[in-house]
Structures are given as structure tokens and as C-alpha cells.
Symmetry: C2
DNA sequence: GCAAAAGTGTTTCCGGTACACCCATGG
DNA sequence: CCATGGGTGTACCGGAAACACTTTTGC
């Protein structure tokens, strides 16, 4: 590699961190892992992240890391921001590209992995290693923006869902309640859903219509 | 530095590239430099960019590079996107953080530098070295978004300006014409300008009122 | 009086928001 | 008949866009 400078300086190196979301019980969860013993923050919770391999892009690194650490396949991925503060990693100069990721909500696609990983609700995130709380905050803002400005909701939902379930997901992402009539009017007017003309009966209430994303 | 892997692999390193804008004659210009002889693209036009020093953030690197190469002080700076394709630099694995920068429009603050640099209108950008055309495209999109959604126009204008001049800047940034009445209504309703109650006489037409940003 | 840019209002449409009641079902 | 969530409509407001003529000046 010809990038070493003459003055013996080593350049900053590149990592990727994944803020990986998933809806569990209609609540927004984030994937965290316990930082290993030999790391600067042994035992503390951290986002899933690591160095880019020499022959992979940042996106590929995110895919690999999630697969390695928690057996997760991402179904949506989007670069959010790159963090380059000098001392963000005590071991050396590491610049980190942060990604917003949505994991499949299909339970079969989640296997138990070697490392300790856990899905935590966004309301209960502890203090994280490195600058990961700041990264999480940035990515969460992006998710809130995206939920009403892109089709990301498609990746947070199961294939078939009711409008109430969809609204619950919006509410857990935004962290606030939405008026039911306005929500339905807005979603339906966007012409992104398909009415399957099926209903889901659940307990003692009126059955709900089933939709899918187009 | 403890970041070298055991398997003798060298990690990707970090550069920053600046897409530096300036209004000249009410047209949007971008700062380019000729890539040096010893580079992979000798003599080709490129964005101003370079490796991060070990003790500087990406923003600081952008400041330094613009100062070194063209004597430019940036008055607005914003990270846009990080490019990590594997072969984007033929010399090795370089990941580049792209910045949207606005240079001072004050002519005195621009000195002639060693390297060949040139301000080119966005309409006349040639084929650039590396993936810099792609970077420019991304950053330009961001600028178009920002012009109506942030106060970036403040940094593109001289201190004192007329509404017609402001509108011209919006038009050169967006690459399209804007209705004069709608433009004035919108800008004035935002309460971001201050009427200096002065006029600028210029040639044979009605004098225009002078504004500044609040 | 004319050329050249400055300045000015009204109407229409659309998306966002506030707000309250009836419907279908199982027990 | 009742408890539970499913489902519906209207009115108001503010921002965006379309659109044409009068004003001020120097010559």
C-alpha cells in the first residue's frame, strides 16, 4: 500500500457502525452487543460495528458485521453520517461511517450468535461505549425523518398488516401519537398500499382489513 | 498505533474532499484544482481534497486543504456523504468524506496559490479525476435542497444585496427560473432579511432596495 | 417617451391538522 | 347489551404556484 506518508505518519482508518432497527411487539428496538473483553470498553453495550476489510465497501462491511455478530440480514440500509472526532476510539484514529439499518422482522431469520447481542427498545438504551449514543441519536433522527418521507415503513412491517398496526409502528418510531383519521387519509392518499380484501379477526372486536405495500 | 490487523492487512484510510462553491457574477462556481504530476490523474481537474492528518477532524482537514491549495477560508461547511467504493483511488484503499463548502465571496480573501486552481461554473464542469463527478453531483443536490431549507443563502451572498440579486443566486443554484412575486413573498415572509432603507442606483433603471440577512 | 429592471396582489389548489361518532364482533 | 378496537368526514389554515401590470430612473 502506497498511502503511508514519508513522515512516518499513519493515517486515520475506517470503520462502519450499524444502528439496526427492528419492530418487536410493535415497539422500535435497536440491536446492541456487549463490547468484548479486549476492547476499550469491556462489557459495555455498543452498536454493532468494526473495521472495513480492504476489499469491501462500507455497506458490505455492515452486511458482514450484522451477519457475523447476530446472524442478521439487513433488508434496508442507508448511510447517515461519518464521525471523525479525533479521540472517539481510545485505541487510535478511527473514523466511523454510521448506517441506518432495518433487520428482517421474520423471526426465523434471526439466529443466536457467539457474541452477546440484544434487542433493546429505543426508550431503554443504556449508556453506550465510544460515541455510540451520539451516533444512535443521529440515526434515530434520520429514521424519524424517513418514516414520512421515504418508503422505509415497508421494511419495518411484516408483509401483511392492518392499518392500526402500521399506525402503531409510525407512533413507536416518532415517539408520539397520531390522529387515526388523519393517518389513514394520508397513507391511503399516497397510493402505496394494496387492500388484499381480507380481514384479520382477533378476539372480541371488529375484524381489520389486511394490506400489503405495493 | 494498534490498529493494524494480525494478518498484515492494512485498513482503508480516510480523505476529505471539498466541493467549494462561490458566486461569481451571480453564477454558481465550483473550485477545482489540477491534479499533480505524481498523482494517478496528472493534469486532470479534481476537487480539492486530501488525507486527514492524524490529529485533525474531517472538517479541520477541509479547512486546511482549502487554505493550502487556494488560500480560501470557508464560511460554511457541511458533511454530505462518504464514498467508499473499493477502487475509487487507484493508489490504494481510500474512503472520502465529501463536504459542501461555501467560500467567502470577498475577493480580497482569495489569494493566488501554488497549485493551479480555478473557479468553474457548474454548467461547464469537465470530466474530473477519481469519482469526483459523482461526488459533485451529490453535493450539488444537497445544495439545491439546502437553498430553500436552510439559511445557506446567507453565505452565498455579499453582505448587502438587492432582492433581484438574491433571486438570481437562487436561480443559478437551482438551475431554473423563479416567479418574482412568489419569490419575494416567500423570502420576505420568512423574516430573515433586514431592509436597510437604502437604495442602489445602477445605470438607467429604477433603484433597488438594499437588504442584509438578519 | 422609451428602455430596463424594480416592485406589487389575487386566486387557486393542496396538504396538514383538529376534531367525534358509528360499526362489527364475541362473549 | 357491552366492551373492544375498526372505520369514517368535514372544516379550517397556511404554504405553493399561476399569473400581468405599474413605477422609477437616465437618456
Amino acid at each position: 500500500m502506497k498511502l503511508k506518508s514519508k513522515s512516518n505518519i499513519v493515517f486515520a482508518v475506517v470503520a462502519a457502525d450499524a444502528v439496526c432497527f427492528r419492530i418487536i411487539n410493535e415497539k422500535l428496538h435497536v440491536l446492541l452487543e456487549k463490547a468484548p473483553k479486549y476492547s476499550p470498553f469491556p462489557g459495555e453495550w455498543a452498536l454493532v460495528g468494526g473495521m472495513l476489510h480492504p476489499r469491501e465497501t462500507a455497506e458490505e462491511a455492515v452486511n458482514r458485521l450484522l451477519e457475523e455478530r447476530a446472524g442478521i440480514k439487513s433488508i434496508y440500509k442507508e448511510q447517515v453520517y461519518t464521525f471523525s472526532k479525533i479521540d472517539r476510539d481510545p485505541r487510535g484514529r478511527v473514523v466511523s461511517i454510521a448506517y441506518l439499518v432495518v433487520a428482517s422482522s421474520n423471526p426465523q431469520e434471526l439466529k443466536k450468535a457467539d457474541l452477546e447481542t440484544e434487542w433493546m427498545t429505543v426508550k431503554s438504551i443504556p449508556k453506550l461505549a465510544y460515541d455510540h449514543n451520539e451516533i444512535l441519536k443521529n440515526v434515530l433522527e434520520k429514521l424519524k425523518f424517513n418514516i414520512f418521507n421515504t418508503n422505509i415503513a415497508k421494511y419495518l412491517m411484516r408483509k401483511e398488516f392492518t392499518l392500526s398496526e402500521l399506525q402503531n409502528v409510525y407512533e413507536t418510531v416518532l415517539g408520539k401519537n397520531i390522529d387515526k383519521r388523519n393517518f389513514r387519509k394520508k397513507i391511503l392518499s399516497q397510493d402505496i398500499l394494496k387492500d388484499l380484501h381480507k380481514v384479520r379477526k382477533e378476539g372480541v372486536m371488529r375484524p381489520a382489513k389486511i394490506y400489503i405495500f405495493k
